[in-house]
């Protein structure tokens, strides 16, 4: 799950060099859209749930796209800080609007009936739903990897990550790439939010909870590196689980230390030459 969020963030950063503070907000929107859609589309069924999540994701992608076209697009030439501040503005706007529409209370999205229970293996219970989320996340990731590896859109995306100016010099509309990447990133965030919605509560403060963790994952995985993000998501998840067991007070500090160590290690590897 973390991976879906982080991969969207890392994609956006890789291509457009934007640190998208609003990524957590897009995740949250995905959760709220799913909350709104689930009762409308075949409630309780598996198909209805996934359809809701997909639609919610598309809705979030549309909002991401609108935002990109209206605001972000105007400042690609400006210092990166401007783009960052604009995404911070988006965080504030989305949070307030969500609170306006859905109120400040925690909401609960019902799970599809089929996913409610647990697998009983010996004496151990394994809840089904996390596996479903993981499976769905994996499926989305496989689709994405497929798209990125084998389609022209994927090639353009990777080309843009390597050298976006050169892509333009081959007749590729740079802004179109930016817009679609932002939309895809938003789609991933939205789908992640929607998938996770029934597992926990849905409230308008999800954004900050998510964004810091997503940043950590993206940084540990290497900014702009999709596969790195996947590995890092695993690492962070496991560290957290172990941290809770063995030294609960320090688990967060530990994760930040890993992040700092990774950053520093990378800088040592790069020493001597100008940074990219």
């Amino acid at each position: 799950m973390l991976f879906l969020i982080a991969s969207g963030l890392t994609l956006i950063f890789g291509v457009s060099r934007i640190v998208n503070f609003a990524h957590g907000s897009l995740y949250m929107l995905g959760a709220f859209f799913t909350y709104a859609l689930v009762p409308l589309i075949a409630p309780g069924t598996v198909g209805g749930f996934f359809a809701s999540v997909l639609l919610a994701g598309l809705g979030v992608a549309a909002i991401g796209l609108i935002f990109e076209v209206i605001a972000l697009r105007r400042v690609y030439g400006a210092p990166e800080l401007m783009q960052l501040i604009i995404t911070v503005a988006l965080v504030l706007i989305i949070r307030d609007v969500v609170r306006w529409i859905w109120g400040p209370n925690s909401l609960s999205v019902p799970m599809p009936d089929a996913f409610m229970g647990a697998l009983l293996i010996g004496d151990n219970y394994f809840p089904i739903f996390p596996f479903v989320i993981f499976g769905a996340g994996l499926a989305v990731m496989l689709v994405m990897v497929g798209v990125i590896r084998f389609t022209r859109a994927g090639i353009l995306l990777r080309a843009g990550t390597d050298d976006r100016g050169m892509a333009a010099l081959l007749g590729v509309n740079e802004k179109l790439i930016f817009s679609s990447v932002f939309a895809v990133g938003a789609l991933l965030a939205g789908i992640a939010g929607g998938l996770a919605a029934p597992y926990g509560d849905v409230n308008y403060l999800l954004d900050t909870t998510v964004i810091v963790t997503a940043f950590i994952v993206v940084v540990i995985g290497g900014l702009g590196n999709l596969y790195g993000a996947f590995a890092a998501a695993m690492l962070v998840g496991i560290t957290k689980a172990l941290g809770i067991l063995y030294f609960p007070r320090l688990s967060m500090v530990l994760i930040f230390l890993i992040m700092a160590a990774v950053l520093l290690a990378r800088s040592l590897g790069r020493q001597g030459g100008p940074s990219r």
Binding site: G103, P104, L107, S108, F126, P127, T208
Partner: protein
């Protein structure tokens, strides 16, 4: 959506209050209400404010306090202590409020109390319930009308102690001050009541963590007969939903805080058995009184939903304040505080409640019962509710003084 209209109503009310402020200058009783309308506390602050507003309207309709109309001035603390402190300071400095209240969240409560104590303005707690405010941070301008964290934990311990078949208990709590205090108080009290019970090492949940799996699995690994969880709000919803996947309610039981808002937001996803709730003021279990049906009715009429614990406490808070001011004949602190600390008060939560002078704590009762689905309300409620009298839940003066000594 009920929530939608509520937000709208409060925004309008806020505007109305602000515009009337200038006109009514001077001859009103000003209540400074600092609450977390946004931020982590927003889900419960709104309810407290609604209950408060209802009380203010009722009092004003009857002519106000001491013949003066009541003016409620609301400020948003954003659930941040610095913001709360700032808003309180401005309310005292520019509005000259007679009393401060409404605060949610322990840290904001302490920040506001610091301002109130410095300015010599009475301040009472209706939501935020850290016992730090009763112990090391206590100042004689302060009282707290709801049970504090320790009292609720004591009530939970008393309830657990009565379940003779429970032999092993796993405590859990949010990893911040309130969670730790609650778990400690629970453990301590339960050990006194039932020396035979085994209490395993507590597990603390990081604030804002949506994934409860990593906490639930180790909690169940000790095979407890019950889990006591000092967790509320979204985290509690997560714990219960995700706990079902781990078979928590087949294998164990859960004793936790279930205020009415939590019952409402869980709705049908609440397990049918295995959940025992501690509540602060559940409207369906309050002792029958003359005012209660009227209160529920007018609250439903005004806000289109049932009053939550927070709303009841908001309402009671104003009524108690009004009674004390009437008795004192003044809103001034010197006249008021002896009446607060010396009086007995009747409210929705029962009659004959008192406030102790040495720590400002009201002898508020706690409500503990088993979750049940009835046909009367569209959400689960508590049955077989024990109303635990506040007096039995409070630390003695000696203990408080000892704790103060240790803290300083």
């Amino acid at each position: 959506m009920a929530t939608k209209t509520r937000t709208g109503v409060s925004a309008l009310a806020l505007a109305a209050v602000l515009t009337s402020a200038a006109a009514a200058e001077g001859n009103t009783v000003k209540i400074g209400y600092v609450t977390g309308l946004s931020g982590a506390c927003s889900s419960i602050s709104e309810d407290g404010l609604n209950g408060t507003k209802l009380a203010v309207e009722e009092l004003n309709a009857k002519g106000g306090i001491l013949g003066r109309q009541i003016e409620l001035i609301v400020r948003d603390s954003q659930t941040k202590p610095d913001e709360g402190g700032k808003q309180a300071r401005e309310l005292v400095a520019s509005e000259g409020v007679d009393v401060l209240t409404g605060v949610c969240s322990s840290s904001v409560l302490l920040a506001v109390e610091a301002v109130a104590a410095e300015a010599g303005v009475p301040h009472y707690a209706i939501i935020g319930s850290t016992q730090k405010a009763n112990i090391e941070a206590f100042q004689p301008n302060f009282w707290q009308i709801q049970p504090n964290a320790t009292m609720e934990a004591f009530a939970a311990a008393a309830y657990v102690a009565k379940k003779a078949e429970w032999k092993r208990i796993q405590p859990m709590g949010y990893d911040y001050e309130w969670g730790h205090t609650s778990v400690e108080a629970f453990t301590e009290h339960l050990k006194e009541l039932r020396p035979d019970i085994e209490i395993t090492d507590p597990i603390f949940v990081k604030l804002g963590d949506n994934n409860m799996g990593p906490y639930i699995a180790p909690a169940l690994s000790t095979k407890p007969d019950a889990i006591y969880a000092a967790i509320f709000g979204g985290g509690l919803v997560n714990l219960i939903k995700q706990g079902q996947g781990f078979g928590l309610f087949e294998r164990s039981n859960l004793v936790t805080l279930t205020t009415v808002d939590a019952l409402q937001s869980m709705g049908s996803t609440m397990p049918k058995t295995g959940v025992y709730g501690i509540a602060r003021a559940p409207f369906f279990a309050l002792p029958p009184s003359e005012e209660l049906p009227g209160f529920i009715e007018s609250y439903r009429a005004a806000y289109n939903e049932y009053p939550t614990d927070w709303a009841v406490n908001g309402y009671d808070g104003i009524m108690i304040y009004a009674a004390a001011v009437e008795a004192a004949g003044s809103t001034g602190m010197d006249a008021l505080m002896p009446k607060i600390y010396g009086g007995t008060f009747d409210g929705l939560r029962g009659a004959g409640l008192t406030v102790r002078a040495f720590d400002g704590q009201m002898s508020a009762p706690a409500y503990v019962g088993a979750i049940a689905f009835g046909s009367e309300f569209p959400f689960p409620t508590l049955t077989d509710v024990d109303i635990v009298p506040g007096e039995t839940l409070m630390w003695s003066e000696d203990k408080i003084q000892a704790l103060r000594g240790a803290a300083n």
